[in-house]
Point group: D2
């Protein structure tokens, strides 16, 4: 069954394999009249591209995006925006060996079980290159959100045991190190940790945190289309994500009601604000006007040079050591993917929320 | 926008408020020929009903389900199964006071922001009674899964600081205590902890763990319809859930690749098995034939008798103490809700997976 | 697969069989703040109920609707509106005979082929009673449309060979005869024709026409979600409909471009109008501000008392004569069903169209 | 809102404008293991390409398709199949004039009303080139159907007043004339008729008929997902279609029940057959095992060289004569589009129908 479309009013449909002709996405439902050019998208893609540091694969892809439709004279037209990135640096030979056995921690075995065979080159559809379409779509969504005063910012919260210290938190710092960590000291420690892992032919995991600011109260629906549920699905659909939490998350399970409840207080201009934000900006699945804050746990890169036990397609035991160019950690390049998925989800839910109230619909149509 | 339907091939559409005429669900897409009667559904509803112990609200609802359609001569007909539970014990007076202010930790404020007004009686649509429809639908899905040899089992993993000890884990024990904890010692400690919280007019949170056994390899799709993403959405759509993790979850972020990868080994009858199950049964979003294991973090019950600061609808600061009948902990009654959502997701994805391979489709249609 | 949900932003999910406990619908996505009571819905249901004249089945159902959720203090709350009509006059004995053979022109055979068995009582899910849910949902949609100045009006255009004469067309007359024909003379002729058919133990077909007035230009999307495509699906999903056409319809296939094109002319207040409306109010799948006009062809009632050849479930040839209470013509009771489906489609598409333009979205959110 | 995706299990998402970089489609949900190459798709595209005769636009596009993903070693992999056709012969200058006024019978006005502006070059998204994506997707669906013994065949039934004579009907003849008419005499008369229209600077409409053979009984669902409703939507989503009918269609409205009912008779091998096929192969929305037969009415090409009245964007009256290269009739090139949409709908509904019965699901999973 079709599984590559995400969103309800604003949708993205991604396609492409690691070593096919290219990867891409069709963004449908984008409102007409949004300024958009290839450079807007390219800026996002550049943040996930390989070869940025010694912690990312040396695969040399320029990953240039081409907008094929849906934009006219610098503006979106309301029709589908098709975006294409050609694959270029395809070392298919590197992968010929893995056609015959199942890499631990990868989707080789499950793809074969599901489809009967697989495009084994570079992981095919299960490759991280699949996220290029997501990031391109996220760039469009982020542009849409900016017009409404909404920003989405993700960063590396931790790498292995090294966590950002809240006392040193600086978003500015985030752009200065290749690990996208908003804490220079932690970034430096994390780099040392990663060097050690690489020396051990091993890999590491980490946590990405994301903040959505400026989202008005009232976005998200009760029951199945909660903003939290939508974000959970969006984030857990990213390869290597094993956990998702919002606000206090798993910590909330150990807190008492008096600690975890956020008191309401009178705000500016007769409005209402919260004294704290344990909830992470969502109550009953609906945004409360505070920052939306959530985290995603990424497992360590499964491709490691250390020897591992596995079996061949025909069930024979073998020992393997994964060659090729692999990131020792997924997190730094995943930061922009998290941001893209969060932006897309928020943009879609903002559009969804326009139809919630009769009085606003009447004002929309009768004025 | 419609937000009360869940699933793709097998869907449930829930409806109802805490103090309206009733709550219910329409299950659509259920295959014809599944044995189903009201008692099958009632057994599941009885596990979530109030008044089971001193830790659950004393609201006295018999919550009897009526199947209105879709079943003929004891079997599903393939048409929508409509199920209705009338609300009975509606103490609307208890709630008249809360019409005017916003309860901290509840959806009162966000509903007003979204819809302009709200059915304030007992939380209306954001009440825990909304889950009755989910549980009824989950009972149907669980029956479907049983026919295919798949079982879904959830239990309380922790309450506040009290965790189940793996060394004492016993599913049998789970049914013997009212906290649904598979560990008699932990259950006893947790009860003491909850007594303390109640004495403090406070509440507690906890973690539910769930295991899906017998699911064949190949269920779930790459990209957006990963089994993990579907479960994440399903579980995070339950009120009070603040976190979701699969397999090692957030722990995986601190593990190295050599620790977290599950080696493949030759299995029985020429098959393949995994040496460990850090992945929680899902690789690349697709089931690998191992047990699917995930956890959900529930926040403490927001309704507490302690005094809290909040504001009225018109923005004036007030101090409130939530009266009425409220569970000091949501977790024990949420166990069956988690199980229901997991069963529904697994059943739907099993149906989805039937169309993955041309050879099997030909065998299906041409034999 | 689930097939009983219609709509995208505004959805209805219908359920129920002819001789089960009842029939009903869940309307989800209805904006909050729309005035709604049971009487609003009942008025629509009364137009389709049996026993209105000698041309409709004598089955005596009061078909009283109960609103179970989604309405509070006389207004919709934005949450699902569940509506229930209990089945009352169930002469199941009348149908015991048809369990064994396949009625020509009915869905008995195809249901058995699809599902392996069927609820044969009164046609089960394929009964005309299935439309009760549609009509109830359509009543909600019509109320929504009225708030925006949009009206939907259907009537009988022809019965067998008897057509409404445009020169005598009078909507007022439509409510005066039981055939819902806007032409007293044609209605009288049609009645005579139907008497003749009944005497022959035969049945008749006819055409329903529907006009949507007041719909603003810009509703409907290019490509697959054209307003025309949505209406086509909506109308052709009604049992017994065998044809759908919009504007000139099949006549357009015989016209030349110069005849069929509608010239644009300067309109009032700097606006634009069309000199004619051959298009039926839709250009490129999008409403042009003129009346939307379409027609639906209904086949003759398949249940006839005349003897017919058919086969039993086990494949033996038999001769049957359908007993029980059946309308000699479906059209008069189908008029309100067409109106309901048109209203629901238009309402949904109006909501969909709110997200088409960036400037309007900014005005919506930033004012 | 996104409106360029069609299908439920098997989906297509089309994109592209007449004078942008290209047009294309993403087919998602196609089962793995279907043989597919570019030539399979090209054959379908060649049937709709311009310049085939003097009755089709002289726009000289080679319309070569490139498959970008989803195929590995000659077989579909189960992942999205992205297909791209670059636009080549873009005479954008031809269209500069139409930027300022609204062509009668076209979507210029409604696009401006909906989106605030439009890509006016060649009609942009509302151009007939949009159907390239549909035809490419239909080619994949047709290949899928062939594996299951299902064929889809469309042809020109009538052009203006010239209809195919059933007594001369010959599918073989259909491929021999450029009008795709299965009747040499009618084709010759239709050519003469079209010459006349062209001399008059006018255009013509016509009817396409389509037959789906080999579809097993049981495909399509009751209520909203009837096979007939799905086909109606699919066909009415094609630009210029103004009517749709199945089986006897509008004729059924004038028939009596005794004439229109199809008697069931004992068939081969203990099976069941119908004596006639007035129903067009669908009963209660579900296929009955007979041929599915439907027709689509196409309006005359709105682009005509004759002078027409219209208005400019600013509302001034003008007289225009549409220049550029336009087909005097849409029908011959639309034949393959109808076939593509029918094939796609049938393929999707076949996949949908796999989940209808518990016994078959158990056989699928437990064997």
């Amino acid at each position: 069954m079709a599984g590559s479309t995400f969103g309800r009013i604003l949708t993205m449909t991604t396609w492409g394999e690691s070593h096919g002709a290219g990867v891409g996405v069709v963004v449908d439902g984008c409102p007409a009249g949004l300024a958009l050019c290839e450079e807007d998208v390219q800026r996002y893609l550049d943040r996930r591209k390989p070869g940025q540091s010694r912690f990312t694969t040396k695969r040399n892809e320029s990953d240039r995006v081409e907008i094929l439709s849906g934009v006219f004279e610098g503006q979106t037209t309301g029709t589908p925006i098709s975006m294409l990135v050609r694959n270029q640096d395809q070392h298919s030979k590197d992968y010929s060996e893995i056609a015959g056995y199942y890499r631990p921690g990868h989707a080789d075995y499950t793809f074969d079980q599901k489809y009967g065979f697989r495009d084994y080159r570079g992981g095919g559809r299960s490759s991280g290159r699949e996220t290029i379409g997501r990031v391109a779509a996220g760039a469009v969504a982020a542009g849409f959100l900016r017009e409404l005063g909404v920003t989405v910012t993700a960063y590396t919260k931790s790498i292995g045991p090294v966590e950002v210290d809240p006392g040193r938190f600086s978003l500015e710092e985030c752009g200065k190190n290749k690990l996208y960590m908003p804490d220079a000291v932690a970034a430096s420690e994390a780099e040392a940790f990663l060097e050690e892992k690489m020396a051990q032919r091993d890999s590491a995991g980490g946590v990405v945190e994301c903040v959505i600011s400026g989202l008005p109260a009232g976005v998200g629906d009760p029951v199945f289309e909660k903003l939290s549920a939508g974000l959970a699905r969006a984030i857990c659909s990213i390869g290597a994500v094993k956990g998702f939490e919002i606000g206090e998350g798993f910590r909330a399970a150990k807190m008492s009601g008096t600690m975890n409840n956020d008191a309401f207080l009178p705000g500016k201009n007769g409005g209402i604000r919260k004294a704290t934000n344990h909830a992470g900006g969502i109550l009953g699945g609906i945004s409360d006007g505070s920052d939306i804050i959530f985290r995603a746990a990424f497992k360590p890169t499964p491709s490691i040079a250390s020897e591992q036990k596995t079996v061949t397609k025909t069930g024979e035991a073998v020992s393997v050591s994964i060659k090729g160019r692999h990131d020792p950690i997924i997190v730094p390049r995943a930061v922009v993917v998290v941001e893209a998925m969060a932006a897309f989800t928020a943009a879609d839910m903002l559009l969804v929320s326009m139809s919630a109230r009769m009085d606003r619909i009447k004002a929309f149509y009768l004025l």
